[in-house]
C-alpha cells in the first residue's frame, strides 16, 4: 500500500512469469524445513495442502477466465447458483445434520443471504446496468457466500445442539405454555450471536490487525487505496447483512420440520 502511494501512479498488478512462480514455490522450503526440523506432524498435510491449493485455484482460474471472457449474465448467475449448491451440501455435511431434510431449506437460506445484499450492492449502489457483470458479481458474491457458509454452519450447529443438550430446559418452556417459536427463541438468539459474532469482531478490528484480503487484491489490481477502503466497507456491510439473513432464514426454514408435532426435537435430524 505504502509503495503504491509513494510511487504516485497506480498500476495494475504485474503478472507472475513461470520463473517467478517457481520462485514462489521455492519459498515453501522455509516453512517445510521448519516443520521437518522440529518434527511437527504436519509435513504430509502441508504438502497435500499446497498441491490441493494449486489444483483448485488452477481449476477456478481457468474457469473464471472463461466466465470473464464470455461475461454472460446467465453463466455468471449459474456460477453463483453452483457455488450456493456446493456451500449447501458442505454445510449439511459439516453440521452433522441429515442431508435429505436440510438441503432444500438451506439452499433457500443461502440464496436469500447471497442475493439480497449482492443485488443491492450491484444495483442501487454500483448502478451497474448489467446486474450480473462477472467483474463485480463473481468476487463479491463469492465473498458474501463464503461468509454465509461459515455463519450457517456455526448457527445451525449451535441451535440444534443447544436444544439437544439442554432438552429438559427446552421442555420446561413447553410445559410452561410456550409455543414452538417462544420455546426456541433463546436458542435462536444464541445461534445468531455465535454466527454473527466473528463477523462483528472482524469488522471491529479491520485494518488494525490485518489488511483484508479484498482490499489487498483491489490495491494490487491498481486501484487507489481510498477507493479500495470504500469497497472494503461496502463488502463488510454486505457480509454482515448476508450472514444475518441467511442464519435467520436457515433456522426459520428448518425449525418447523425438525420438531415433532408435540414439540420435542425430532432426533432423526441428526446423522448419528
Amino acid at each position: 500500500m505504502i509503495a503504491a502511494m509513494a510511487s504516485g501512479a497506480v498500476k495494475g498488478a504485474i503478472d507472475l512469469s513461470a520463473l517467478s512462480m517457481a520462485a514462489v514455490y521455492a519459498l515453501c522450503i522455509v516453512p517445510l524445513a521448519i516443520i521437518l526440523w522440529n518434527r511437527v506432524a504436519l509435513f504430509g498435510e502441508a504438502i497435500v495442502a499446497l498441491v490441493r491449493m494449486t489444483l483448485q485455484l488452477l481449476f477456478v482460474g481457468v474457469y473464471l477466465q472463461f466466465v470473464f471472457r464470455l461475461d454472460s449474465p446467465w453463466l455468471n448467475g449459474a456460477w453463483l447458483v453452483i457455488m450456493v449448491v456446493v456451500a449447501d451440501v458442505s454445510i449439511v455435511r459439516r453440521s452433522g445434520l441429515r442431508l435429505r431434510r436440510f438441503v432444500l431449506p438451506l439452499f433457500a437460506a443461502l440464496l436469500a443471504g447471497l442475493a439480497i445484499p449482492l443485488l443491492y450492492f450491484l444495483g442501487p449502489i454500483l448502478g451497474r446496468e448489467g446486474l450480473l457483470e462477472a467483474q463485480y458479481a463473481i468476487p463479491l458474491g463469492g465473498m458474501i457466500l463464503g461468509n454465509c457458509l461459515r455463519a450457517d454452519i456455526i448457527g445451525l450447529k449451535s441451535y440444534y445442539e443447544a436444544i439437544r443438550t439442554r432438552e429438559r430446559e427446552f421442555l420446561h418452556a413447553l410445559a410452561q405454555g410456550a409455543t414452538l417459536g417462544e420455546a426456541t427463541r433463546p436458542y435462536l438468539r444464541e445461534a445468531l450471536k455465535a454466527a454473527l459474532g466473528p463477523t462483528v469482531a472482524t469488522i471491529a478490528t479491520i485494518g488494525l490487525v490485518a489488511l483484508p484480503g479484498m482490499m489487498t487484491g483491489v490495491i494490487l489490481g491498481g486501484t487507489e487505496p481510498m477507493t479500495a477502503i470504500k469497497y472494503q466497507i461496502a463488502i463488510m456491510v454486505a457480509i454482515l447483512t448476508g450472514t444475518a439473513i441467511t442464519v435467520l432464514a436457515a433456522i426459520w426454514l428448518t425449525t418447523r420440520s425438525s420438531f415433532t408435532a408435540h414439540g420435542p426435537l425430532d432426533e432423526t435430524i441428526f446423522r448419528k
Binding site: 420446561h172 410445559a175 410452561q176 405454555g177 409455543t179 408435532a261 414439540g263
Partner: protein, 221 residues
C-alpha cells in the same frame, strides 16, 4: 372430541415402548377433577413416561390420553399444556435468577392474561418455605427440593389446575414436604397425579395404582 363426564386426566389402554422394548402395557386410569391418584412402581416400570405422555413429551405406542375430555394429539397438546403443571423429579430451570424463572413464562402469549398473579408470589413463597432472598439467586444454586417447590409455585402463578408430580418427596426435607402436603390437602380444587416409587413418603390420599415391574426395561424411569 369432548366426552360427557370429563375427568381431569383419563388414560386408556396406554402402552409404552422404549427403544423397541415394551415398558408398560394396558394402563388405564382416571383422575377426577379435584382428585388424587398415585402411580407406584419400581424404577423402570415406566411411571415417569406416563407423565411425559400426558405432557406430550413422549408419544405412546398405543392407547390414548385425555385431558379434560380432550385427546392429547400433536395439535391439541399445545393448548392442553396450559392447563397442566409438570413438576419433574429434578426440575431443570432455564439459566437466570429465580425471579426471572417466575417472570419468564408470562412472556408467552398463552400466559399473558395471568400476569397479575405475580402479586401472589410473596405469599406463595412463604407458603412453600422459600425465603424471599432466593429470588435474586441463580437457579443453578438452588437445591433439588427448592427447585421442585419453585416449579409448584410457578405453576400456581400460571393458574394450572392439574398437577403431574414426579417423585415429589424425594428431594424435599420433612418441613418442606409437610408444607407441600398441607397445601395440596387444602386445595381440593386442584387435581394431582403423583408417580412415586415410595408413596408412603407423600400421601395425599386418593387412589393408588401399582405398576408391575418389567424385566430389563431400564432407562425409562
Amino acid at each position: 372430541m369432548k366426552t360427557a363426564e370429563a375427568a381431569a386426566i383419563r388414560i386408556e389402554n396406554l402402552a409404552l415402548r422404549f427403544e423397541g422394548r415394551s415398558v408398560l402395557e394396558n394402563l388405564s386410569l382416571a383422575l377426577p377433577e379435584g382428585g388424587r391418584v398415585t402411580l407406584t412402581g419400581p424404577s423402570g416400570s415406566g411411571k415417569s413416561s406416563v407423565l411425559r405422555c400426558v405432557m406430550g413429551f413422549a408419544v405412546p405406542a398405543s392407547g390414548n390420553v385425555f385431558v379434560r375430555g380432550e385427546r392429547v394429539t400433536g395439535h391439541s397438546v399445545w393448548k392442553l399444556r396450559t392447563q397442566l403443571a409438570y413438576v419433574a423429579q429434578e426440575p431443570v430451570l432455564a439459566a437466570g435468577t429465580l425471579r426471572e424463572e417466575f417472570e419468564r413464562p408470562f412472556e408467552y402469549r398463552a400466559n399473558h392474561g395471568a400476569r397479575g398473579n405475580l402479586e401472589k408470589l410473596p405469599e406463595l413463597l412463604e407458603r412453600f418455605l422459600l425465603p424471599q432472598e432466593l429470588l435474586d439467586q441463580d437457579v443453578v444454586r438452588l437445591s433439588g427440593g427448592e427447585k421442585q417447590r419453585a416449579a409448584i409455585v410457578s405453576a400456581l402463578l400460571l393458574d394450572r389446575r392439574i398437577f403431574l408430580m414426579d417423585e415429589p418427596a424425594s428431594a424435599l426435607d420433612t418441613a418442606a414436604r409437610d408444607a407441600v402436603l398441607e397445601f395440596f390437602r387444602e386445595r381440593t380444587d386442584l387435581s394431582v397425579l403423583v408417580v412415586s416409587h415410595a408413596p408412603q413418603g407423600f400421601d395425599l390420599g386418593g387412589r393408588a395404582i401399582a405398576l408391575p415391574e418389567r424385566a430389563r426395561a431400564g432407562g425409562a424411569g
